[in-house]
Amino acid sequence: MIAAENSLRPGRMLWAGVLFRLDSGWHIYWQNPGDSGEPPKIRWVLPQGFQAGAVEWPRPIRLGSGSVIDYGYEGQVLLMAPLRIPAALDDSAPATIGAEVKYIVCREICIPGEAQLTLAIPAAKDSSRHFSQWRELFERTRAQWPQAAPRGWKISARSQGGNFILTMRGEAPPRDVAFFPLDANVIENSARQILASSGAGIQLTLRKSDQLSKPVATLRGVLVLDGTKAYQISVPIAPR
């Protein structure tokens, strides 16, 4: 476990996270793991008065081949969350920030793991921020978070037979688009996502999940453009 700062500023926010360093070929999973696997679960164990916000998930990659496709991370990934430090902070001793982490890491095989992590951080002596050696990693990870879709974009989705058609206008057409669904059982993860570009925008055809038994009101997920830019989208689906 690592934190972006070396000291606790009363009443402020501290970003702390669990850093996974995976050997080559191994992966862990995104919040929607896709066809198999499970996302890591982090349970914060915090001193009195501290509060943890939600974990922020960097943009995932598509994993696997054939009929079983997963969403997750390879190499190094930092899953961080904001921790609210109480205004009345006991500064007599360093506070111990703890996390119980349950995860499953897979290559051809899967291995479950569990870790009890702790990090002791002293209260700040003054009001300035004292960044830790991990500051840059926190910044780089932040750059991998999906952003809100730009206001100028026009995104729409419709249901058409066995597919959802996602249409997006307002961006110079990217060469490559990947949609990562936030919800399970909405699209068929292993189906090829078919991209069509026109001057004004793009159209992405996503095959509906075979398990989709009820109409879906909203298509929610992350759009990754050219493997680098990631946007959160939540689009109502026009019925047909």
Binding site: S36, E38, G64, V68, I111
Partner: protein
């Protein structure tokens, strides 16, 4: 002309197979028929079980999600409970040779005896034919077929997607729920769920 049409149909079928969606099993529709051989060399077809409930359970004995249900005794208990009530329980091993969970007939029979597993049969599907036919994604991945041959459940074994044996107690078992409801003449309240587990270790 007729011949040409037949050729077209064959081509279309081949294309659908290549795209992998020829007979995707879908809840509410007829479950795809199959013929498969079990660990004792006996051949099973879905059609021979018309008039009975059939459960399909995808397995990989070394997958931690599968182990959760065997080491806790949960899967064996489910197999005993439902086969004693006339349900046909077919465990399917679709791991390819060399992949985790691949079993020979001899291996599998020794494991069945040791683990106390009690399915009707274990179907050996190293080629992945049955797995792809049902689009089985994970181990475990569970399917329930009713006596009319209609698929009534496709998804996870229960609502606790973990590898922790402690989570078996208190979990809502979707297979038992589907069977209980269907046998009582009720609609199945949870007919699909995201199956959880290790990916099925297909060879292709």
């Amino acid at each position: 002309m007729r011949r040409k049409l037949a050729v077209c149909a064959v081509l279309a079928l081949a294309a659908m197979l290549a795209a992998g969606w020829a007979w995707a099993a879908r809840v509410g529709e007829r479950a795809p028929g199959f013929t498969a051989t079990d660990s004792n060399g006996k051949v099973h077809t879905l059609s021979e079980y018309a008039g009975k409930y059939v459960v399909l359970e995808w397995t990989n004995r070394d997958c931690p999600f599968t182990r959760k249900h065997y080491e806790s005794g949960n899967m064996q208990a489910l197999q005993r409970k439902w086969t004693s009530r006339g349900v046909i329980w077919l465990t399917v091993a679709s791991s390819a040779p060399g992949a985790q969970g691949y079993v020979t007939a001899t291996d599998e029979n020794a494991y069945l005896a040791k683990s106390g597993a009690a399915p009707t049969a274990v179907l050996l599907d190293a080629a992945g034919t049955l797995g792809h036919l049902y689009d089985a994604k994970t181990t475990p991945h569970m399917f329930v077929i009713n006596p009319q041959g209609i698929l009534i459940y496709d998804g996870a074994i229960d609502d606790r997607p973990t590898t922790d044996t402690a989570d078996v107690a208190g979990a809502k078992n979707y297979v038992s729920l589907a069977l209980e409801e269907a046998m009582a003449g009720k609609a199945v309240s949870v007919s699909t769920s995201r199956p959880y587990g290790c990916g099925v270790k297909y060879g292709n």
